[in-house]
Point group: D2
Chain length 458, copies 4
């Protein structure tokens, strides 16, 4: 791993690196815009990560748009610094976003193209020297993408690409001592790495993401469709997937749940609109459902059965899109809370209902959660929105009639909030916060006053 300072130099000195990276981005974006190439990557993603064509294509598209965003001079514009006058003639303080130098990136199986490309390019844009590890099950996608980037002009020595298991990677990190490590993946591994690396880390881990439907019922068909999509697309294997739905009683009286159920029933293994769950097997999924159903008042809304007629290996999970209703009062009980809010990285959601005067209970339930990634408040009532936004902290919160929990495009921040280790992805803000630190350089060139005299000691 290259040394820190010589990397900084590269950043500071070589204007052409900015221009080179702007060029590479423009070229790579153009290539990804060609149907032949986007189709190749879409299908390659599908071969290793179970999702529909359109979901896989979404990754390719977001990656293309991200690269367009940093075409031309936009990489150097990321390095924009500021300056403020000092205390006397000749003094001026400059605030820079400075690279760390050697850094590491570790990314998961569920977005084999989008997450590594966006984080890798962000690291490079800001002047770092990254080593990249993608989950080995899916790393072929990024291997192909790196070749495309090399073709577009990326020097081969700029990125170290490593294929290994987690333990080996941890050992490498402890020896190579990257200044910063970006980890996207499970909370369990994240917490361990945070200790191993003594906090020199940025994390984008799990989320038990919630959606609240406010008192103003409207556009039921649309909202139902978004709910299905948020909970079950990619078989729920998005860190932004809807894990729990808080429904105002007004919605309970609407056809909402029935409509969601219909949408869920349309999902099929054939086109991967439902598919294998990579981190929880079928038995564990059914067990979790059964535990939930033992809570007084809870009931199965739909799904809850193992898929049949498939060749999914037993180490993976395979169940129908599932929704379990649990009464709000029960969720808040200490005995139940942990069980209900356990993140299941699969096509599985909790549904509950609240009355007008129960909003504080809903907010209380949100507050007790550990991770604060995405959230949605479906309402156009400005005072209701104000109340829920003010009392919550999720990093990416959609509000309004069209609110959703999923959707991590390149045009807005995606990441958790409420944690100093929290990472973001995609936008200029995310890149600058994750991949650079503040450095202040104060120019103080004089002149020294002609009548300057040596002051007393202090």
């Amino acid at each position: 791993m290259e040394s820190h300072s010589s990397q900084s130099l590269k950043w500071m000195k070589e204007g052409y690196r900015y221009l080179m990276l702007g060029d590479i981005s423009a070229k790579a974006a153009h290539l990804l815009s060609l149907p032949k190439i986007s189709d190749f990557f879409t299908k390659l993603i599908q071969r290793v990560s179970p999702k529909s064509y359109q979901q896989a294509y979404g990754e390719v598209y977001v990656t293309q748009k991200f690269l367009e965003n940093f075409s031309g001079d936009q990489v150097r514009f990321l390095a924009r610094s500021f300056a403020v006058p000092g205390n006397h003639l000749g003094q001026q303080s400059h605030g820079f976003r400075w690279p760390y130098g050697p850094v590491a990136i570790i990314t998961p199986f569920n977005f084999p193209l989008e997450i590594p490309v966006l984080q890798l390019m962000g690291a490079l844009y800001m002047g770092n020297k990254p080593v990249l590890k993608v989950d080995s099950k899916v790393s072929i996608v990024m291997e192909k993408m790196l070749r495309l980037l090399h073709e577009c002009g990326l020097p081969r020595e700029d990125v170290d690409f490593i294929n290994c298991d987690g333990n080996t990677m941890t050992k490498l990190l402890l020896e190579a001592k990257p200044r910063m490590t970006l980890f996207t993946g499970s909370s369990r591994v994240a917490e361990k790495l945070a200790v191993d690396l003594k906090g020199r880390i940025k994390l984008e881990d799990a989320g038990f993401d919630w959606k609240i439907l406010g008192p103003d019922v409207q556009e039921v068909d649309y909202v139902a469709w978004v709910c299905d999509h948020d909970a079950y697309a990619c078989s729920g294997q998005k860190c932004s997937a809807q894990s729990i739905l808080f429904m105002h009683e007004n919605w309970g009286r609407s056809p909402l749940l029935d409509t969601i159920k219909k949408h869920a029933a349309r999902r099929e293994l054939d086109d991967l609109t439902v598919g294998p769950v990579l981190t929880v097997n079928t038995e564990a999924l059914l067990l979790h459902k059964n535990k939930l159903l033992k809570i007084p008042g809870s009931k199965l809304l739909f799904g809850g059965k193992a898929l049949t007629n498939h060749s999914i290996p037993a180490i993976y999970g395979a169940i129908e899109p599932t929704a379990v209703f649990v009464p709000l009062e029960e969720i808040l009980k200490d005995d139940n809370y942990e069980l209900v809010t356990k993140e299941i990285f699969g096509p599985f959601q909790i549904v509950t209902e609240y009355k007008d005067n129960q909003l504080p209970m809903v907010l209380n339930a949100l507050e007790k959660m550990h991770a604060h990634l995405t959230a949605a408040v479906v309402s156009n009532d400005v005072l209701f929105l104000q109340e829920v936004i003010g009392k919550s902290v999720n990093g990416t919160t959609y509000v309004g009639l069209r609110a959703r929990t999923t959707g991590a495009p390149q045009n807005h921040w995606f990441g958790p909030a409420g944690d100093p280790r929290g990472a973001g992805i995609g936008t200029p803000e995310a890149i600058k916060l994750v991949w650079s630190c503040h450095r202040e350089i104060i120019y103080d060139v004089g002149p020294i006053a002609q009548n300057w005299q040596i002051p007393r000691s202090t």
Copy 2:
């Protein structure tokens, strides 16, 4: 400790909190501008932290100016967010700096007023609920200051002020689980806390700070005076104190070192221009000096003796301002490097010399250092500056003829670089980076197209 979300609500909802804090800042700044009050705090600082009147007054002055900076509407201006149009009519993404909620602040003995006030107010400005622990030896200063803030209108419940030892504080942190902890103090404690708190921390710890004198010799008197001040003011007990001086051979031929020696000799216990060293006793200081003098070619430039005729307790250190010359080649040897670059929090510096063609060796020496706090490059040669800045990473780097290592005013960033856990202090950027996190709220209110139809599942 108050809960996270209800604090966020306070931030979001209560515009008047911004106005209240702007008001408090204006009033407190005005009080600190009154001679009677600034004199009171200056002398109170001197009673617990060994430094000259002028150095102690410096803390009061910086604190006053900091408070002026956040008068009126400037607290709410810190909360400035941005918004970007979305993908369709009615969608817009908003990027906020959001408070963490419950946070902790731990500050050291050497700046008993400035560091706690600036960090505490920063935490409050961004909407957090802080618990504050100041080193017990000096916490009386902050106790008085809190009373002044209460007098200016700060509600008593806004800050929890705790007096305890480090172990008790650690226990409290592990139980109360603040979302963020700001620690200013020794590297040893910092690293331990980083593990205990699993990285939910920002650090401003030690620095083995360097100064390089470039090839262009000018204004020798001025530069010598700055060197004396950087190395020995506050008896070297600033995290920004000059620990090593790299002198181009051209400076070696100038009267520089003799002049620094003369300045150092002016320092006296009487007015605390030299004083007790709180973290290293005399014996240890002399031992360190002797070890250094065993390195081939090294020599004592001046100082190096224990102070006499004083009543400083034996648990503290008391030596003359000291400078030890060590040849550059020796510094770089693996056997010597750790010894030479050991931070001594006292009136002690290393001096060395380099020739034109040895600049890479100097840069190599910098690169191997662990902490990257302050630095100075004394030169007006733009190409020389460009080379050294580009190959270093210290968070606060002064360059130009008047460059210094000390000086942490409220008008520019002060803090380390090269570490994602690095904290800053004082400026709007420092406050926002340390005391808030990014939160994105995406409004998506519709309308939904009249001809909208349910799409296929994905």
Copy 3:
């Protein structure tokens, strides 16, 4: 008038000017916060500009807060520049906000303290050398304020204060050729000055300001009170006063108009809650009313009579707070439009009503207006707000249930939009846009490549 460049130098060179102005602002803000002094200025304003104690005090308060905002380092923070890496090592482009140098400020009678102080200090903060002319009828207020600023440390040579009539001032401008002139006052004079000064001008002139009440009726008492305040405070002599009210028919069925009428009836000459109109005499006011009442369907809602039992000179106007209803269809007719939308700088408003399907007519009426200063859309219906905001262009537009047209605090931009000559007042953005221009300084220091060879001519 001092020369341009030497002024620029002062800005660039003398860091202490920023600090000095920050100091002056802090001191002056503190003085204005003292009851004795704020009371003095409030009553002084009342003696020359007819408004209630509270309205006059509002000027003093806003001025105080504005000065607090630019205490300490905040003046130098206004001068913040940015830098972007160039095309090769050693090149970097810096974007500054640069002063014009000699500038002029011309301000009107209705805000004798707030407008001149905010614009004057803005001009000084950005490094200009201003000459200031306040309407002679009220210039005593600013004369006293200048003495206060001198007392706080403002050098006497920094501001030229001139008392003369408009013609003399025009002559002075044509000879002295200030680089920029800020004019606040009537549209007639503004347009003439724009030609005389060949466009080297920023304008904040009249506004025929509108308010729309949306379909969602709520909080009628509150909205009625705001309407009274917007239309009749300061006897309507604010450039932000409500000139026309578009009321959704749902509001027409509410007690709104009756409540406004009651509020208007509370206004009295005694406490100047209604008072003399300085630019239109009583006869002209009554004539205008009568012309309006000839429009088919129009009617007098309340007021419309000359005040009695007073000693207001005949050259001024003196009428009751007045509201005239005109049907929307009539307003839009070419024959009536100019008459109805004629700005009356007095306690006078037009009221009209629209049905759901007539919103496009309302928007059409807005579009035909010449000036675009303030506006209000009273509604919490997000889709309604979106429609009206998107189809209008007023510079300061309040929206939501509590929307108002008046209110020009120091914390948000106040000024017209849709005109490149438009000025703003008060905020950092306004100061920078009005009182400085962009200057780009590109550092390109080398080195030149050792193997550089002379290229072909191009």
Copy 4:
């Protein structure tokens, strides 16, 4: 011309317009990156505007890079707004850059592709509806480019493209009343338009651009080459061309002038490294030279003769690259100043020399100039640079050893300073300042306090 407000609506409402324009920019940039297409436009430019292949290609390249800069989401990022908390719960002020609506663009002959594309796209990016007039002699270039943009997806109705003479255009402007007109061209027309349009204009007009060589002589070959390029490329027909060279006497003793002379002698009609002057005929050029040579002490350094053996029509100018030396003392005399600083839009420069103590005279000469477009200070002496920068005001000022006057790339601001009517081109800052105005929208949605009571009238 479409109405103002409906245009604003388009901007506000239709997120897709941003995305569409980002798409068009990416596609058009890609097309311009194809050799066949860039070669086509380069040669087309050469057919109508006399410049070398490389100079013409420069236009195509800058245009391509500019379009890359606004690919993907970067158009919507230009529309980034900000928000600040208000005075109470539910209030928040938002600052937008808002489009003007209908606008006009008038561009000159010398950059037939770069200037119209950059200004036109800037106008569109910010949401305006532009009418574009390019100098009829060269408008074929832009006609072809518009067809390319249509091919990339630009709706035909988005831009009105007009071919007419100046008088017709003025008439159109007076009737159509665009909210803003951008004029690039001669000072004479600019001043007239400013009056005609009552200041609703942004200008980028002439510049008598200066270069100062500081006391530190180094890299003479390089500096000489830059001088030749700055003065004579495009036959001096750039508004940024070097019009006068102030040379420290140290440079006078170097081979600088001889080297410039050699470079100038390499220029040939064949490859258009020298070519026809479109706005001054040969006779007038020679007359100007002769008048200058009558000044005491002045002398012809080189050039000064009419070109021979060519078919350039007599209405154009055709002379050798020319330099005339005039003593500094003479330049400053009132009788000579206007003559010496008359802008000649051709291959013609003044050269003069100054001694150390004459720098104030040089600065005085700069200060008296009318336009302040580009400038260069060739020196790496930081105190010298500080002095000259601080005492000058040119909008685009290059400083350092590699400083030049020409070069208007897309990555930094290009435009005059010191004039509120001054326009900029190319960068995000230029686009926002020229093509949008500030609009503040204050949300104030409540709630209203339950215990709210009607206040007294004010």
